[in-house]
């Protein structure tokens, strides 16, 4: 029991000390610096109250933020128990690697003729792109498939955004994203090693995929803040800006189901869910503009999804057509 408790605290502390985590102190510091530079040099002191309010202690002690903290603490405990039971990327990689022997019997000379730097570059890039696409696609499904949306609402019920909001998610969503990660990473590992053998490696900085590191150090944590940092439109067509992600959390119906992307905006372009940021930054966050504080209760964060799904099933069994008419989000 003691070791379990110690492991729990270790994992919690690693949220901020492990560079593979979004909330690594280095990324938080860089986000703070970028936001300060933005407010001073770009906004030139013209920031709205909304921007500045997000820096106040009251914002961090709000019901929404308190709910973030509770979810983080509870989910960490849950995943401490669940994680050993989950399918791992190594399991997937081994499975696919074995099957490749049967379905692609000839490996050719790829491993011999391709320079190592090219193999490592390709692997680093492929892993980043596929991981980002999978993240985008599952995120899109979380919004567009009714029963998945019930779970994803836990994340979108946050009306005050802080970098910690990234961890405010229903455990079922956590499980799905864990499976997604295992599938994508396991597949990439298996395919590359099958064809390029021991030449495969990953370019890393602080033990993180170099591209992911760049994404994180350039302010990934600003996505879940009220600091409305926009890019030029040409850049927002390629990469998701913090402002674009804040639009994704907006309660404006026009912003519903927009900007699912994590890093790359091209996926949203391809799937017609892309939305550029606008000059106005008076966004309100949450499930809807009339959201009450009950959305931050543990019941709503954890249990209501199951109750709502149960209702949907009952409703479907009574009248299948009724379900199709439902529009999302709530």
């Amino acid at each position: 029991m003691d070791s379990l408790f110690n492991e729990y605290w270790l994992q919690l502390s690693q949220l901020f000390s492990n560079s593979q985590q979004r909330l690594y102190w280095g990324y938080l510091l860089s986000a703070l610096l970028i936001s300060a530079l933005w407010l001073v040099f770009i906004e030139k002191g013209k920031s709205t109250k909304l921007n500045l309010k997000s820096l106040l202690i009251s914002h961090w002690l709000s019901k929404s933020s308190s709910a973030d903290y509770q979810v983080i603490l509870i989910n960490k405990a849950l995943f401490l128990i669940i994680t050993p039971l989950l399918i791992t990327k190594l399991y997937i990689a081994t499975l696919i690697y074995e099957q490749l022997h049967l379905y692609i019997p000839i490996r050719s000379d790829l491993a011999d003729i391709t320079p190592e730097w090219l193999v490592v570059t390709l692997f680093t890039l492929t892993l980043f792109i596929f991981d980002d696409f999978a993240r985008f696609f599952l995120h899109k499904l979380m919004h567009e498939i009714p029963w998945l949306w019930h779970f994803h609402k836990t994340h979108h019920s946050a009306d005050k955004l802080t970098p910690l909001t990234v961890l405010r998610s229903h455990p079922v969503e956590g499980l799905l994203f864990s499976l997604r990660s295992a599938l994508v990473q396991g597949s990439c590992i298996a395919i590359f090693i099958y064809f390029f053998d021991d030449k495969v490696d990953l370019y890393t900085v602080l033990s993180v995929n170099v591209l992911l590191f760049i994404f994180n150090i350039l302010g990934s944590n600003l996505r879940h803040t009220h600091i409305y940092i926009r890019y030029w439109h040409w850049l927002e067509a390629l990469l998701i800006s913090p402002a674009q992600h804040q639009i994704h959390h907006s309660t404006l119906p026009a912003h519903f189901n927009k900007n699912y992307g994590a890093t790359i905006a091209v996926w949203d372009k391809l799937f017609h869910s892309h939305c550029y940021s606008q000059l106005s930054d008076n966004l309100q966050f949450g499930l809807n503009s009339k959201q009450d504080s009950q959305e931050h209760s543990l019941y709503n964060l954890y249990i209501r999804a199951f109750v709502d799904i149960g209702k949907s099933i009952r409703s479907f069994l009574k009248s299948p057509k009724a379900l199709k008419k439902r529009s999302l989000p709530d």
Binding site: Q21, L90, I106, L138, V166, S169, S178, S181, I193, N209
Partner: protein, 469 residues
């Protein structure tokens, strides 16, 4: 005055404790004679010459197995039989033999022990991993006969490398079986070879002392096996002259084959230990030394229950680690066969001359097969794991026409049938490695074909795996 007495007592106690510690030593040598009533001229009680004789019979038999000329060769067969089942005097030690800068002291088997053979000590059980439903003795006789008619040890039609098969299987069926399923098992029973009696009338050692020594002799470690560096030990077995000075422990200018040479599983323990991830050679030898010291400390009296329990614990350490040594070797060669099969497939696709590759492939499979069936001779029921391993490794490697040996006919000829492709066989080698790693807590894992996968998976880490935006 009282203070002086106290100091004297403390000094005496310290010296006594030091003496006990020193007597434990770090070498498997020079344990004093404890058997009561001994009147001979021996100065110590250690004796495992018979086992070392069998070690050199095995290494010599392996050398002979390379001498086939591709036709039935009764003379070679007779010579091989002399080393496997014969007991005649005058058998030369073919290996290990003196080399430039690495002279060995003994040239005749009889110099180590007279009248010894391997057949009499071979595992009596059946060998399900070999075709023909034979006992281990029958398997070795069958292999020896085939080897005598082979092309320098190889049968390219059926994918056999007999020197490897004979050597690796004999190590298991004789040495491993005798040690773990006999000397370290039933012969440690209270009333079997008791410690309060001489092993035989007039011997300088008790029953238990000799039982323990014999098990040590079968392991094949030199007397300094508990402290020797793995790389050095490995080089000694290879007869490298640059380690001669260190290997010549008694400084007589020659390597004494009974105390200074490394054989059989001790050699493979050193092979695994070179990885720096394991310490099998030192661990096993130390357990042998500790057990021998415990027996010596009983001073020729019957072992108490507590002493026997402790002795069994040392035996357990030896058995577990010894089994791991064999499993590590099988794991390593499964990885080699995997790589060979892949290269062979690629060579065939490119219409290259694959003769050398094929020979290497057969060679590695022979080692894998030998170790994998040796693993099953320790008297333990390995259950489904053994069945799985035998099926994956097969009765032969997959041959170039995608056939495989499936049995032996009434005349002793191999029977082949169509099988999987080379690539699928490579996959079976991966599965063999997985099966071995699942069954045993392997650490060295040489030639690990899944290592790249796990290393890369570790490098990618688990950050953000459950996070969404």
């Amino acid at each position: 005055m009282k203070l002086n007495k106290l100091m004297t007592a403390i000094t005496f106690a310290t010296l006594s404790a030091t003496a006990v510690t020193a007597s434990a030593g770090d070498k498997y040598a020079d344990f004093p004679i404890t058997v009561k009533g001994y009147t001979g001229d021996k100065t110590h009680s250690v004796s495992y010459g018979g086992q070392v004789a069998r070690q050199v019979l095995q290494t010599s038999l392996m050398k002979l197995a390379y001498k086939g000329n591709g036709e039935a060769n009764p003379e070679l067969l007779s010579q091989m039989n002399a080393y496997y089942s014969g007991k005649d005097a005058g058998r030369a030690i073919i290996a290990p033999a003196s080399k430039d800068g690495f002279p060995v002291a003994q040239t005749q088997v009889d110099q180590l022990s007279k009248g010894k053979n391997l057949a009499g000590k071979t595992y009596k059980g059946a060998v399900p991993g070999w075709p023909g439903n034979m006992t281990a003795v029958e398997v070795l006789n069958f292999m020896i006969e085939k080897a005598s008619a082979s092309d320098a040890g190889f049968d390219y039609t059926n994918g056999m490398d007999y020197p490897q098969l004979i050597s690796k299987f004999a190590m298991g069926a004789v040495f491993y079986n005798q040690a773990v399923d006999n000397y370290l098992d039933e012969k440690l029973a209270a009333d079997t070879k008791p410690n309060d009696k001489a092993y035989k009338k007039g011997t300088a050692y008790t029953g238990k002392e000799h039982v323990w020594d014999e098990a040590f002799g079968y392991f094949g470690a030199p007397t300094n096996g508990a402290t020797v560096d793995a790389k050095q030990a490995y080089a000694v077995a290879k007869g490298k002259k640059d380690v001669f000075a260190k290997a010549d422990l008694n400084g007589n200018g020659k390597i004494d084959l009974d105390t200074e040479m490394l054989y059989a599983h001790a050699y493979y323990a050193a092979g695994a230990d070179k990885s720096g991830k394991t310490n099998y050679l030192n661990t096993i030898t130390q357990a042998f030394i500790d057990g021998r010291q415990l027996i010596t400390d009983a001073k020729g009296e019957k072992l108490s229950d507590a002493q026997r329990t402790q002795l069994m614990a040392f035996a357990d350490t030896i058995k577990k680690n010894w089994e791991l040594v064999i499993a590590e070797a099988a794991f390593k060669y499964a990885g080699s066969v995997y790589k060979d099969a892949q290269k062979l497939q690629a060579g065939i696709e490119k219409n290259e001359d694959v003769k050398a590759l094929f020979k290497k492939y057969i060679h590695h499979w022979g080692e894998l097969k030998g170790f994998s069936i040796a693993l099953q001779t320790g008297g333990k029921d390995l259950g489904g794991f053994a069945v799985q391993l035998n099926r994956l490794v097969g009765f032969s490697p997959v041959l170039l026409g995608n056939t495989q040996v499936t049995g032996i006919d009434a005349k002793g000829n191999y029977v082949q049938a169509s099988s999987v492709s080379l690539n699928e066989f490579a996959l079976q080698m991966l599965k063999s490695q997985k099966a071995l790693a699942d069954q045993y807590p392997l650490k060295a894992r040489l030639n690990d074909q899944l290592e790249n996968l796990s290393a890369l998976a570790d490098k990618i880490g688990s950050g953000e795996s459950t996070e969404n935006d």
